[in-house]
């Protein structure tokens, strides 16, 4: 088996983990900010 298979496997795992690290905190930030905005909207008198 060519060693390129292992190289692709390692770089694939590296890319996947970097994508996870990039996306997760952004999603969490959006979720927290949305929850805060929703709470304020609920509190506002109609």
């Amino acid at each position: 088996m060519s060693h390129w298979y292992y190289v692709a496997l390692a770089y694939g795992a590296f890319t996947l983990l970097l994508c996870w690290d990039f996306a997760m905190p952004r999603l969490a930030l959006k979720k927290t900010a949305r929850a805060l905005a929703l709470r304020l909207r609920r509190k506002k008198p109609l």
Binding site: V7, A10, F14, L18, L29, L40
Partner: protein, 249 residues
């Protein structure tokens, strides 16, 4: 007051920290992406194959920077935790706790890339070598810090408990680093030195140095975004958070 001390005091306020983190996370990531692209291009396409290891040596271009990050992030996390424990500085708690998932990610990259490199080179994915085992313990320590931080409801108490674990876990850092000199291991010794000549030829060194800088910038960007999240989660009742995030669609 001294300008630097004044800056530290001001950035220590949660509202100011949010502005600071928002401002600097993006440029850090842009630079990190750019250097990652250049470094990976160099590692995969520009440098020649190693005369002994063949193509598989290209894995080391991500393995080595990730391994360095796994250790240095743990030191930063323990230092920030110690500062937070002594002076009760909230931003230090946030940075320490935000560092744990990034450190765990780099440790996972180190272990996975090491295993993938080990298969064609050593003939096995894993061996209970001191360097490999202590790096695995490092991953468990990161996961322990993250788990402890999420297990306690009071955020400040959780950060103190997890910070304490990070400080105790520092014992493992020199073990990982010196494992190759203290014990007779399968893992190779130092190839690249920050001070003094490296064993790697300079024509093959530049992608590695580029990726070392890229991973450091990545850590700065990631820790700033993660600290922003933790900061906002604790400050949702505060006026500054309501003013800044109250109209999020």
């Amino acid at each position: 007051m001294n300008k630097i001390i004044l800056w530290f005091n001001q950035t220590g306020s949660p509202a100011r920290f949010d502005v600071f983190a928002t401002r600097w996370a993006k440029p850090s990531f842009i630079l990190a992406f750019l250097l990652l692209a250049i470094g990976i291009y160099g590692a995969l396409l520009s440098v020649p194959a190693d005369y002994k290891q063949g193509e598989s040596f290209r894995i080391l271009y991500i393995h080595v920077p990730a391994a360095w990050m796994s250790l240095s992030i743990f030191v930063i996390m323990a230092l920030q935790s110690a500062i937070a424990l002594v002076w009760r500085i909230k931003v230090c708690e946030l940075i320490a706790m935000a560092s744990a998932p990034v450190g765990a990610m780099f440790t996972a990259v180190t272990l996975i890339s090491g295993a993938v490199w080990g298969k064609p080179t050593w003939g096995t994915w894993w061996t209970w070598d001191p360097r490999l085992t202590s790096e695995l313990v490092l991953l468990f320590l990161y996961l322990g810090v993250m788990g402890l931080y999420s297990a306690i409801d009071d955020r400040r108490a959780a950060a103190r408990a997890a910070g304490f674990l990070a400080i105790i876990g520092m014992v493992n850092v020199p073990i990982v680093h010196f494992a190759v000199t203290w014990w007779n291991t399968l893992h190779q010794g130092e190839t690249i030195r920050l001070i003094g000549p490296s064993k790697m030829d300079s024509s093959m060194l530049w992608p590695l140095l580029t990726l070392v800088v890229a991973t450091k910038l990545w850590y700065i960007g990631s820790v700033l975004v993660r600290a922003r999240v933790l900061n906002l989660q604790q400050e949702t009742q505060k006026q500054w958070a309501i003013e800044r995030y109250g109209d999020t669609p």
